[in-house]
Amino acid sequence: MADKKKMSVAEILAAARGEGKAAGKEAAMPADQTAAAQAETPQSSADSPAATPAAPKPGSAGRPSVKDILAMARSKGAAASPVDAAPAKPKPASKTAAGKPAPAKKPNAPVAGPKKNVQRDTASILAAARSGAKPGPVGKAEAPVVAKPQARSAAKPPPRPVPPRPARPAAKKPAKNAATDERRGFLGYAVGSFMAVGFTALSMTGGLFGLGLARFFFPNVLAEPPSRFKVGSKEGFPVGKVETKYVAQYGVWVVNSEFEGVQQIYALKTVCTHLGCTPNWLEAEQKFKCPCHGSGFYKDGINFEGPAPRPLERYAIRIADDGQLEVDKSKSFQEELGQWNDPESFVTA
């Protein structure tokens, strides 16, 4: 195990299991000898149903499932528990094992402790506890370190007998469960379990938060200018005029110009078709010129220079009921798709 350079997760787990078993046996052996007089045979508890399912697994080379890992931890607990738990309470041996994987660590301390040092100061106890088998997966770097003390302790004569101690967690847990079942059971009928209460509260809070968030997307006041707006009567746009005063608020040029031989008033979108910058209208050169990459458009919006691949887009424009021109930004018309022939895209001047 230690001589291998790289260990897969499966190998590490298998190794940990092997140690667990060894530690369990080791712990069980002295207990066997000393506690024999107390008429309780740990052998039977070691063969208890909790331990058996874990036994055949470690040999398998495949990736261990979570179930396997838990079973491993349990088997350790079960194997180690006879030392202290079994003599005190024969029945809950299986329960301890199933309930808590953690005690697997504890029983090792008294096993390794006495054999190392006669004086029992804190440091030595801690060191002994640390040198013991680590439950669960072992890191690559840890594997050899963990393995060594095990090998040594296995070679050494069995440690001093450990007086059996009552298992605290084992005693508490069933009591609590029993109490819930019997006396406070009505609480369960009233509000469900505390888990259920917690999750209900959580989901309600989440739901309320979600509703609040949804409300946030529909503000009371919309700062955005309306997508339909009036720009005055046709007379305000003499032939050849490019009105730039709506650019800042609406992003629209209103132009009176000729397109395919027809004098039209139309609304051009102020977005360059190359990368979306806002071009400037250059009156002297009679063209829209984009500051970003130099695209140029004629007055009718047709691209003629620079990288812009297609003409500017038009917004819908119409004569409203009161005779004013009304631009509708919710509809746009693209020349390359032939949409500029759409009567909605212009007003005949």
Binding site: V247, A248, Q249, G251, T270, H274, L275, C277, T278, P279, N280, L282, A284, E285, K289, C290, P291, C292, H293, G294, G296, F304, E305, G306, P307, P309, R310, E336, L337, G338
Partner: protein
């Protein structure tokens, strides 16, 4: 441009310091050369150059705006008239080729020092021009000036070592890196150097931040684009590419290909030589392709975008006033237009009104046939053609897949200069132009 006097008295203080710095720098250089007693002639030359710099400094600090040394108006006018994207690109290419071909001459320290001082002097004389100073001394652009000098320096150092090594290899000697392979320790040698650099750079940045504050502007507005509107300096090469290509290609495909190509490089390189030491002769192809991609297609485009692209992304000479009203004829035509209308004298194939989608797509293919054929030939026929002619040896060494990756990466890289040339000569806008699906190439 208009009130030159005010500007000159403003910039005079800076120029005084600048020339004094040049004088001190050259004085120290002359002293070092003199001490070595090897190049006393050069020492005298640089000492007198330092004297000239002192005179220029005192002229700049004289308090009279007319005394500030500046390039003659005639030269500035000529430079402005001559400069344009074509001349700039061809000029920088010619300059880089010159540096490469005569690298043995330029790596000599005294030659390099002369070029360095000449460029600094030219920069100082140009900086007394208001339009030049407005661009070069703009806080955004100062780092680009630094970039030019830093890149020049590092390239020079590497080239110098490569030239020395090439000479040694030719004579059958081991390369310098093998001979002089003294090891230094990370601690303390490297860590100390890094610490000192860290402190120095922090101090520099602090001083820089105090003297050249960040140019903050008004809040952004979606309907107001600054003119000129420039990308961050490191993206100005991309912005220049966008002049020639559609955004999906210049903004997405080409930059991704740059990254992909850089990652592919170690796997495409089959030349085992030049590993661990500088050499140009031993890896000429790799060296030239790299330097072309880096200097020609990235750095010069950044410099062009920073200093020479003004309002409306028009090209401006280095001493030209950045007027947004400059008229530049940029009319350009798509290849289908050129092919069908100009050469075949017939209208563009256009699907009849209310035709089905498939018919429309068919007409689009017909319309774009010349461009598609040209591009297909370029990307499909050219690699095998090159494999049996120019790159015969490469193909044999690299195998099919590696060769095809290399050839295609190179051809795609070359689309940029080729497109630039086509734009300048034929006013070609797009080879394939399908605005119906926003697909242009």
């Amino acid at each position: 441009m208009h009130s030159n006097g005010f500007f000159l008295s403003d910039v005079a203080g800076f120029l005084g310091g600048y020339y004094t710095f040049l004088a001190i720098m050259n004085g120290v250089a002359a002293m070092i050369l003199w001490r070595r007693q090897q190049r006393t002639g050069w020492a005298v030359f640089w000492a007198s150059f330092a004297g000239v710099m002192m005179i220029l400094a005192s002229l700049a600090l004289s308090g009279s705006a007319s005394m500030v040394p500046v390039l003659p108006e005639a030269i500035r006018g000529l430079v402005n008239q001559l400069s344009g994207p074509v001349l700039y690109t061809l000029g920088t290419t010619a300059f880089l080729v010159l540096l490469f071909v005569f690298r043995k001459f330029f790596v000599q320290p005294m030659v390099a020092w002369t070029v360095f001082n000449a460029s600094l002097l030219l920069l100082g004389l140009s900086m007394a021009d208001e339009n030049f100073a407005a661009i070069v001394m703009k806080p955004d652009n100062v780092p680009i000036v630094g970039l030019v000098y830093l890149l020049a320096f590092f390239t020079w150092v590497a080239t110098k070592q490569a030239v020395v090594n090439d000479e040694r290899i030719k004579q059958g000697l081991p390369v310098v890196e093998k001979v002089n392979d003294e090891k230094v320790l990370v601690w303390p040698d490297l860590v100390y150097t890094e610490l000192i650099c860290m402190v120095a750079v922090s101090a520099l940045l602090l001083v820089w931040a105090i003297f050249l504050p960040a140019p903050l502007e008004e809040p952004a507005s979606s309907v107001k684009t600054p003119n000129p509107s420039k990308a961050p300096w490191y993206f100005l090469g991309l912005q220049e590419m966008l002049v020639y290509f559609d955004p999906w290609y210049a903004g997405v495909v080409l930059p991704s290909l740059v990254v992909f190509g850089l990652m592919a490089m170690p796997y495409l390189d089959f030349n085992k030589r030049g590993n661990g030491y500088y050499s140009i002769e031993e890896r000429k192809f790799s060296y030239l392709v790299w330097q072309f991609g880096f200097f020609e297609l990235w750095i010069t485009l950044i410099i062009l975008g920073t200093f020479l692209r003004g309002p409306n992304w028009n090209f401006f000479g280095p001493f030209e006033y950045w007027t947004p009203y400059k008229v530049e004829v940029l009319n350009n035509v798509d290849l289908p237009q050129m092919f069908w209308v100009q050469w075949l004298n017939q209208p563009l194939p256009r699907a009849p009104q209310d035709a089905g989608l498939l018919t429309q797509i068919g007409y689009i293919f017909l319309r774009e046939a010349p461009g598609l054929i040209v591009m297909g030939a370029y990307l499909v026929l050219l690699p095998p053609l090159l494999a049996i002619t120019v790159f015969r040896g490469f193909y044999a060494k690299m195998g099919f897949i590696r060769y095809m990756v290399m050839a295609n990466l190179m051809l795609l890289m070359l689309t940029l200069p080729l497109k630039m040339i086509l734009r300048w000569t034929l006013n070609l806008k797009y080879i394939i132009s399908i605005p119906e699906f926003s697909l242009n190439f």
